[in-house]
Symmetry: C2
Subunit: 186 residues, 2 copies
């Protein structure tokens, strides 16, 4: 079998996703998911978060194992740097969401990927979070994502892949559009 | 020394943060930070991200060590569940940002914290990301954060702590307000 004859395999089960789309369109209540995280304060700005259960397909679900994450502020913020900074977790979420989308769309379009890397950079004026400049927002002024993709496709087709991934990305939507967050004290 | 005499210590160096606010207000170019992540596709929806360098205080900075994260989709999405789901990373970022803020504000207000836990839940209609319902957004319909805080303070003071943390939180701002994201292919 030559390379051209080999079926495209990016490790994404597109048939299952298409079947899920059909099944869930007919049973929309099963498409209602709840994603969760729990966070425990350690000391200073250091916290420990865990991700284990979620709800979907009409019932409680569980990851294969519990995923644990330390977060902290860096030493230049007079903290201990015991983990990634919270805003860096947002960049990891965006990078991984868009990258999963690139692989899924490539599989659906029968484009074989060889390598995909993304570098992300978010600009922030920290006078905002320090409360020193009311014109500076607390969050990122903007985020730049740069993809370097080696695939059996033209530059135009690769750009179209990335554009379609953005169009269907949960985290891209969360960051670029407002999401309501309610915060309560028990 | 009785408990009442003991100085409040939540492990946050508030004096250093106040000094930084004054110094950076006079040298605002040093307050321009760039936060970064890099992401490498592994297979299917599985990717590996790393967080190592950032820019701030006018120069390149480095975390004490490289923080690494696997992300994937769960088995109910016909994937291998090799890491937390991208949207769960967003919840971890929000939880850790608000929690670091609670500790910092408590220190500044001389409130001794004993324990702080947050539970987060984000609702999502996955017909959005599946492209099956144009009325369903890709991201969270909403996020609920619930704090359980044991501290030397009244319920009102604890609620005010959490409210001030929201007001100064980078990730809360990123999620509740639109942020521009540009995506390019090299």
């Amino acid at each position: 079998m030559t390379e051209a004859d080999r079926p495209v395999d990016n490790g994404v089960n597109v048939e299952a996703l298409i079947a899920a789309r059909e099944a869930l369109s007919e049973a929309p209540e099963a498409a209602q998911f709840k994603w969760r995280a729990a966070c425990q304060w350690k000391n200073g700005t250091h916290s420990h978060s865990s991700v284990e259960s979620f709800f979907g397909l009409g019932e409680e679900q569980r990851h294969k194992r519990t995923f644990s994450f330390d977060a902290d502020h860096p030493e230049v913020f007079a903290a201990e740097d015991n983990g990634a900074t919270p805003v860096e977790y947002v960049l990891v979420g965006l990078a991984s969401c868009l990258t999963a989308g690139v692989a899924s769309v490539a599989q659906n379009r029968e484009i074989q990927l060889r390598s995909v890397t993304a570098t992300l950079e978010g600009d922030m004026d920290i006078l905002g979070i320090l409360g020193a400049d009311t014109d500076a927002r607390n969050g990122f002024e903007g985020i730049k994502v740069t993809y370097d993709i080696d695939a059996d496709a033209s530059k135009d087709d690769i750009e179209a892949l990335v554009a379609q991934s953005q169009k269907r990305s949960a985290v891209y939507d969360i960051i670029t559009n407002p999401t309501n967050v309610s915060v309560e004290v028990k």
